[in-house]
């Protein structure tokens, strides 16, 4: 089981490394989208500081949803997904490995890019730390939920927009507590409670999303 997880995970990383520019596109989207907000809202530091956590989180959400569309599409198109499901190996592990790969390729770069935007939006050090920590706990939730949406919409004409419609409502708790952590720190309180709830959401999603994804894959491939 562990070998299967590692093999699939490393395979996805290796495949992405062969198309580096393509792998970077979600982060590029994130950077461009976040940069548009000061242009739209105005460059006042007070306003920017106020909207920064929300903007960074919403753009991270959208970047995750846009990139998760192709999570299973490539394997589905060349038939390897069907082989994986027919191989008798646990589809839950396959789903977990694919989600982990997605997080490493898109979630992690977003986490790394987030402090930079904290500086651009004139946030102080504590808030930047809280934002980054909340993204560390929150972006895996997005990859796991996105994986369910991606499996459900496999091979559909309007998969991209559908995933956004299906998954965004489900990711609202992560958004609320992720931005809430930064708000708490800025209000001079401890964000520990927010981290705990985000952690609980992450554990709950990690336990339920891979089985749901595996069921969705079987429905879509059947």
């Amino acid at each position: 089981m562990r070998n299967l997880f590692l093999a699939l995970y490393l395979r996805d990383i290796k495949l992405a490394m062969r198309r580096r520019i393509e792998a970077l596109l979600p982060v590029v989207f994130f950077v461009v989208a976040v940069s548009l907000f000061p242009l739209g809202v105005g460059p006042e530091h007070d306003t920017l500081r106020l909207i920064a956590p929300g903007v960074v989180w919403v753009c991270a959400l959208l970047a995750a949803m846009l990139s998760v569309t192709n999570l299973y599409a490539g394997d589905y198109a060349d038939g390897s997904l069907e082989q994986m499901l027919l191989s008798g190996q646990s589809a839950v592990v396959i789903a977990a490995a694919k989600s982990a790969g997605h997080w490493t390729l898109t979630g992690l770069p977003l986490v790394i890019a987030a402090p930079l935007f904290g500086l651009l939006f004139d946030m102080n050090r504590e808030s930047i730390t809280a934002l980054t920590l909340s993204l560390v706990l929150g972006t895996p939730i997005l990859s796991l939920l996105g994986s369910v949406g991606s499996a459900l919409t496999l091979g559909l004409r309007s998969a991209g927009v559908l995933i956004i419609l299906l998954v965004l409502p489900l990711s609202i708790p992560a958004l609320i507590f992720g931005t809430g952590a930064v708000g708490a720190v800025e209000g001079g309180q401890s964000a520990a409670g927010h981290y705990s709830i985000l952690g609980a959401l992450l554990i709950f999603t990690a336990l339920t999303a891979p089985p749901a994804t595996s069921a969705a894959l079987r429905i879509s491939v059947e």
Binding site: V148, L156, S158, L166, L168, P169, I172, E222
Partner: protein
């Protein structure tokens, strides 16, 4: 295949009562008989409920006449939540027991649920303007109701986007279950996020804080909405049955009969 058929025979002998109306043909004839009564009940109860609500119930001390939209708003909000659960239940039942009728009922419930959610939001906005001085407040209940509308739209969009009926049923069932599991989590996170709404007016544990005529009107409207929902969902389900079972003999006979008369 043959094994399925023999198993089906055995099943129908031992627990026929349970699955009698799971057969689309029986469902079709039963609901065909029920629909006129349901429509009648819906119309009578709506007229009665609106009369009690608009003419008999007393004027509210604080909100004046504008509170009377509660007689549509609250039952619609109740229906929007009940129908989502019913939809998830039937979709799950259809998936788990491979019962065609369950999936068809889930499909038929979704538009009505979305309609009630929309009515609840719309009347809420109309009520919010005189009560709070604004059309929309980002508070827990309004926001969760809006998210519920998104969940309905997501279910309808997904099932409509998949051409293959079996896949569409199962994918919709999975999505409805995932949504039903997430609704409490979403509700409590949104509630935590902001609570500005007035406290719940009716709860199962506490005594209602309203005049009994108001309660009567609200209950009448709730029953009216139930009757309407049953009637319109049965009608939609019957249409889906005819569409999906068009290859079956009883549908052919039915439509052949129609053609002769017309």
């Amino acid at each position: 295949m043959t094994r399925d058929i023999t198993m089906g025979k055995k099943d129908s002998a031992s627990r026929i009562r349970w699955f009698t109306f799971a057969a689309p043909s029986r469902f079709y004839s039963l609901t065909g008989a029920l629909i006129p009564w349901l429509w009648g009940a819906a119309i009578v109860l709506t007229l009665w409920g609106l009369y009690v609500g608009f003419f008999i119930a007393p004027t509210d001390a604080q909100q004046g006449e504008s509170y009377r939209i509660i007689f549509i708003h609250v039952p619609a909000a109740w229906m929007s939540m009940v129908i989502y659960l019913a939809m998830a239940f039937w979709a799950a039942a259809g998936w788990a027991f491979n019962a065609r009728m369950g999936a068809m009922l889930a499909h038929a419930l979704a538009p009505t649920g979305a309609l009630f959610t929309f009515i609840a939001l719309w009347t809420g906005a109309f009520w919010g303007k005189p009560a709070w001085g604004t059309w929309w407040v980002w508070d827990a209940r309004l926001t969760s109701e809006l998210i519920l509308l998104f969940l309905y739209i997501g279910y309808i969009a997904l099932t409509e986007a998949i051409d293959d009926v079996r896949r569409s049923d199962k994918a919709g069932a999975l999505l409805a279950i995932v949504g039903a599991v997430n609704i409490p989590i979403i509700y409590f996170s949104v509630k935590w996020w902001n609570t500005l709404h007035q406290g719940a007016t009716i709860s199962a544990t506490a005594a209602p804080k309203m005049a009994s005529t108001m309660l009567t009107a609200m209950l009448l409207m709730t029953f009216a909405f139930w009757a309407y929902a049953f009637a319109v969902v049965f009608m939609r389900a019957r249409a889906i049955v005819l569409e999906r079972e068009s290859h079956a003999d009883w549908v052919r006979q039915l439509t052949a009969g129609k053609e002769q008369y017309s």
